[in-house]
């Protein structure tokens, strides 16, 4: 028996050695011929949170910004996906070791690791999507080489809430979140205010299910990945009579869209990206509350390439088009014309400051 093992081991070793010898020249050919030099000497890098770059949500949007920067600015890039919360620090360390000039972390969970890395590596620039930095006493702090990329999402959600209330035929609209965190509840707060505004202006009584802005309590899936949860929550809203639902939960909302489609007369409001384009449920997507993370990431990279990196926070608003309401697409004919004009008016009023949409989660 032992002999056979020995023979097998020896055979394996010889085979490995032969394979290595045979292929070595090919490898050197490859390295001399393959690489093309980048036209700009700049390397932008990105770390996802546990959602990954294919989350149809903010990681994906951020990654699109990075990809666009590679195509348009000719920079180099590296990106690493985090499989869990414990991967953030090693992933960022890995990118620092890869000599990145700018490292962008996507998601508030990366706040501590990005901040620690920024303090330890003063010659590298960092950016952080969806969170700002804070010091040991939890007071906001500005880092010389760290730029927060934030969004006042309530502004766009407000418009969506108004439009939903104005379009609903059952008098009930709904929203729910993935996990109760500021970057989610800010959507729900804005949506709630939009519905309230419609009721106030028109003496209506459209009811909002799933979120109470005053008590900050509502329905949450508890995660950002279970489509089944999205189906269950969506179905319960439909059973209660809601005909427009805004799921603020990344891929969970796809499950909600599938039960909405099956119900027939229920519409969905997408979040982060234009769901008419990014999901297969286009015909039932009334509109989407878009957070332009991609362009914000692109602008941040582009500034850094030009040597103009600033640690000043970027706050996406309706005014700077960091936020927006997606086109109506198939709902062009279903949303009343006066509502469409009213939305444009409201948008102008928010931009001018006549209306301020407030949320506990508003970035300061």
């Amino acid at each position: 028996m032992k002999k056979i093992i020995r023979v097998a081991a020896l055979g394996g070793a010889v085979a490995l050695a032969l394979a290595a010898c045979g292929s070595a020249p090919e490898e050197t050919e490859e390295t001399t011929g393959g690489e093309t030099a980048a036209s700009v000497d700049f390397k932008a890098c990105m770390v996802s949170d546990a959602g990954g770059f294919d989350d149809k949500s903010f990681n994906q949007s951020g990654f699109e910004g990075l990809t666009r920067a590679v195509e348009e600015l000719g920079i180099e890039e590296a990106h690493v996906e985090s499989a869990s919360d414990t991967d953030y620090t090693p992933n960022i360390d890995g990118l620092v070791a890869e000599n990145c000039d700018l490292i962008i972390g996507v998601g508030f969970l990366l706040e501590d690791p990005i901040q620690a890395a920024a303090e330890a590596n003063p010659d590298v620039n960092f950016a952080l999507v969806d969170s700002s930095f804070s010091d040991a006493d939890f007071a906001p702090v500005t880092l010389e080489n760290g730029k927060p990329i934030l969004f006042d999402t309530a502004q766009a959600a407000y418009l969506a809430g108004y439009a939903a209330a104005a379009t609903s035929t059952t008098g009930k609209v709904a929203t729910f979140g993935g996990i109760q965190i500021p970057s989610v509840t800010i959507f729900m707060d804005g949506f709630a205010d939009g519905v309230a505004k419609f009721n106030e202006d028109n003496g209506g009584s459209v009811q909002l299910l799933g979120w109470d802005k005053a008590t900050q309590q509502g329905v949450f899936a508890g995660n950002f990945d279970s489509q089944d949860d999205g189906k269950n929550i969506g179905q319960s809203f439909i059973d209660q009579g809601a005909d427009i639902i805004m799921p603020v939960a990344g891929p969970v909302g796809i499950g909600t869209a599938s039960v909405a489609e099956a119900a027939g007369n229920v519409a969905i409001i997408g979040v982060d990206a234009d769901w008419y384009e990014t999901t297969e449920y286009g015909p039932i997507v009334m509109t989407s509350v878009m957070k332009e993370i991609g362009p914000a990431v692109f602008d941040t990279i582009s500034e850094a390439v030009d040597g103009n990196f600033s640690s000043e926070a970027y706050v996406g608003t309706l005014e700077n088009e960091g936020l927006g309401l997606a086109p109506w697409h198939d709902f062009e004919s279903k949303v009343p014309a006066d509502v469409v004009t009213k939305i444009d008016e409201l948008k102008a009023q928010i931009i001018s400051g006549e209306i301020t949409v407030e949320s506990d989660a508003t970035p300061s």
């Binding site: 028996m1 093992i5 890098c45 590296a78 985090s82 919360d85 414990t86 620090t89 706040e111 501590d112």
Partner: protein, 429 residues
């Protein structure tokens, strides 16, 4: 392959004849015990070959996922050398980066930076070793404890809460946190132990369910003000102060912390417990044959509870390594998937202390190397998870590995030959 008798499914519901399976709460399906036994007794060579096989298959996947390989595959028959060289480049670069990220980075400019990858490997290995040791004790006592994930989370909650809430002198604070972590894990596992001893509830089901409860428990706790940072609604706890953190072993440039020493000490303790102490002897006796152990006067039910308490305490310590060692905060994802990876670590290490330490370091290396592999070559981190999973698959099926490498089965002399079933009965009697 042909010389191996068919192995029954692990969850074979019908108790084999000869066992009086009526109101025995501690009754174990024979198949599960056999599979466990099989995994724990197959040779080291099989483990090694399982790793090699997993890396080879992982290499094929890396090649298949590579854009260059996909491009050259379209004209494979006109010029196959392009595909082969592209595949070789993809695989060798990926594995070179894996090595550089896990053991030694030849590209680093200074020695400190070059050996840092290995310290990373040990850092990641720490929770895996601790949780793996606990699971290994359970496996050797015949308990298939799947609940390390929940036990790590509970350990993390206890360690974290004591850490960020109280203000105590340095060494005392750390000690209290570590003790709390062990207690938290032990209590959580103890629930499964008591349920099994009292009611016969199967530990696999109970521990899996307790994992889910733990995941939602930590999410709920992190929504309370007591667990959040003042002025923030994010589900992230305040940072753990230095007084409660494991001291760094190699200074601030490295993440390796004293939790690794705890893991090594735990391995030595486990060896003493299982090989030298009376209680360990009871654990093993119950593991190899609960009926015989009961006849010999060992309280099987009490042993189950003690096994789970011990296993949970180790898993809880793994949680302390995360919260007090590397992350310094409590978040919902602080346990990563270590509880499940640790099952593999324990199985790969044959549930023995030394084996578990080595298997933990191997998995730590795959994890730490995977990070660099992803950053340098763009190879998805999922490949590492696939390699890990393949290792489990092959470990769980030793006959498969033996047949691939044409190794003889170690059980052959004892196993009844399928050709002469009648004669076998007489031999075994």
């Amino acid at each position: 392959m042909s010389s191996q008798p068919p192995v029954p499914l692990p969850d074979a519901a019908v108790p084999p004849p000869g066992q009086t399976g009526v109101a025995e709460p501690t009754q174990e399906p024979d198949g599960g015990r056999r599979i466990l036994h099989e995994m724990l007794t197959s040779s080291w060579l099989v483990s090694l070959l399982a790793i090699v096989l997993a890396l080879i298959l992982g290499g094929l996947l890396i090649a298949a996922a590579d854009a260059e390989v996909q491009a050259t595959a379209s004209y494979f028959f006109s010029r196959p050398s392009d595909l082969i060289s592209a595949a070789w480049t993809a695989v060798s670069e990926a594995y070179a980066a894996l090595f550089a990220g896990a053991i030694y980075d030849p590209r680093a400019e200074e020695l400190g930076r070059a050996v840092r990858p290995f310290t990373e490997t040990l850092t990641v290995a720490t929770p895996l070793i601790l949780a793996g040791l606990g699971l290994g004790i359970g496996f050797r006592a015949g308990l298939f404890n799947i609940g390390a994930q929940g036990q790590i989370i509970l350990g993390g909650i206890f360690a974290g809460y004591i850490g960020f809430t109280f203000d105590l002198p340095p060494f005392v604070h750390l000690l209290l946190c570590v003790f709390g972590a062990a207690l938290g894990g032990a209590l959580w596992a103890g629930i499964a132990g008591v349920l099994k001893a009292r009611t016969g509830a199967h530990e696999v089901i109970v521990t899996i369910m307790l994992n889910n409860i733990a995941i939602y428990l930590v999410a709920y706790l992190l929504s309370l003000d007591a667990f959040q940072r003042p002025g923030s609604n994010n589900p992230v706890s305040p940072p753990i102060p230095d007084s409660a953190s494991y001291p760094l072993l190699l200074g601030s440039g490295y993440r390796l912390h004293a939790g690794f020493l705890v893991a090594i000490a735990a391995a030595v303790f486990t060896w003493w417990l299982m090989e030298r102490s009376t209680i360990g002897f009871r654990f093993r006796a119950v593991g190899s044959n609960p009926q015989a152990a009961r006849t010999a006067g060992i309280s099987v039910n009490a042993t189950y509870v003690w096994v789970m308490l011990t296993a949970g305490a180790f898993a809880g310590l793994a949680g302390s390594a995360q919260v007090l060692g590397t992350e310094h905060v409590l978040t919902a994802g602080v346990a990563a998937s270590y509880g499940f990876d640790a099952i593999t670590v324990a199985l790969l290490g044959r549930s023995k202390p030394l084996g578990t330490v080595l298997a933990g370091i191997l998995f730590g290396a795959l994890r730490a190397g995977g990070v660099v592999m992803q950053a340098r070559t763009g190879t998805p981190i999922d490949i590492v998870l696939v390699v890990q999973s393949l290792i489990v698959l092959f470990i769980a099926a030793p006959p498969l590995v033996r047949s691939v490498f044409r190794l003889p089965s170690p059980d052959t002399p004892r196993a009844p030959k399928p050709v002469v079933p009648v004669a076998a009965k007489e031999v075994s009697a």
